[in-house]
């Protein structure tokens, strides 16, 4: 297998890492909504934590996208 083909296959495989990140992000917002339905008045105060947790989790998915982009455009 030559290097060009391996690059494209690697880029495709790297995108599979976003599966875990997607599940994690859905988890965060789902838990927030569940908690907010039980205690709506306290929900607004936790909005900062929600956004922070979302961004930190999404970062891991973006790391895997970064590997795919690096393989496609930089190597």
């Amino acid at each position: 297998m030559d290097a060009e083909a391996a690059k494209y296959i690697g880029a495709g495989l790297a995108c599979l890492g976003m599966l875990g990140a997607a599940i994690g992000v859905g988890n965060i917002f789902g838990s927030f909504l569940e908690g907010a339905m039980r205690n709506p008045s306290a929900a607004q105060g936790q909005f900062g934590n929600l956004i922070f947790g979302f961004a930190v989790t999404e970062a891991l998915g973006i790391f895997s996208l970064l590997i795919a982009i690096l393989l496609l455009f930089v190597v």
């Binding site: 900062g48 956004i51 961004a55 930190v56 970062a59 973006i62 996208l65 970064l66 982009i69």
Partner: protein, 251 residues
């Protein structure tokens, strides 16, 4: 017209200059770095120019930005964190936010899409934490790696994990901002490149080119959100790490 999505990240000299064999040209990256410093400064100066007890519109904007970052730092690091680090944290937030937003416009260059810019900011925070941590806590700073309230045999596992996670902080701190901005900009360019590509495919393609166009607009909305969010997350993590530096002995 380059439809290559990586073309936007090229650094082109605007005013070529040379100093002792080194290329110190004023590039497009330099221009936007200067804008990232000058625009927030001008904004804050303008909002405090006619300081009144009942704020006018400009002052309200400045106070919103100031209060937002102040509350972020106060809730993480407490009042001594605010006393020591508020100028640093406000500068970081306003710089990243301005540079991300300005870079969204066409033909503009985004400095935070270069790893060197985000890595330098993350290393700045990292070394500030280490230096201030040792200066303020002495060797008690190492209590950061030995959290209290754990049965002693677990320390053999927990302490190496804590040390590794401490040293991986600047890496994830830098790469999070970099990868988000880089990936977002590439995504926008790829979808925008589909529009002329479809228009080249005859009349049916020209009608269908509305689809990638709408997608590009939607991606721009997402990118605006990401620009603010990444500035917020970078600053939030900075506040948390600075709190670790100041209050390491409380672990």
């Amino acid at each position: 017209m380059a439809s290559d999505p990586m073309h936007q990240f090229q650094i082109a000299p605007m005013i070529p200059m040379e100093l002792a064999g080194y290329d110190v040209s004023f590039t497009n990256a330099s221009l936007f770095l200067v804008l990232g410093a000058a625009l927030p400064a001008a904004f804050m100066l303008a909002s405090s120019a006619k300081a009144a007890l009942v704020p006018g519109r400009m002052q309200t904007l400045g106070e919103t930005a100031y209060g937002f970052v102040y509350n972020m730092l106060y809730s993480s690091a407490g009042s001594d964190g605010v006393k020591k680090f508020f100028p640093l944290v406000l500068s970081l937030f306003l710089f990243i936010f301005t540079v991300n937003m300005v870079g969204l416009f066409a033909y503009n260059f985004t400095p935070t899409s270069q790893i060197i810019v985000t890595a330098m900011m993350a290393l700045l925070v990292f070394f500030t934490v280490i230096i201030v941590g040792f200066a303020k806590n002495g060797l008690g700073f190492l209590k950061l790696f030995v959290p209290s309230g754990i049965p002693w045999p677990l320390y053999i596992i927990v302490t190496p994990i804590e040390i590794i996670s401490f040293f991986s902080r600047p890496l994830s701190h830098a790469v999070r901002l970099w990868a988000n901005i880089l990936a977002g900009h590439i995504l926008v360019k790829v979808f925008a490149g589909f529009v002329p590509m479809m228009m080249d495919a005859g009349p049916l393609g020209t009608v269908g080119a509305i689809l990638p166009f709408v997608m590009t607009v939607a991606l721009y909305a997402l990118e605006t959100l990401v620009a603010f969010l990444q500035a917020y997350v970078f600053t939030m993590l900075t506040c948390i790490y600075l709190n670790d530096a100041l209050h390491a002995a409380d672990h």
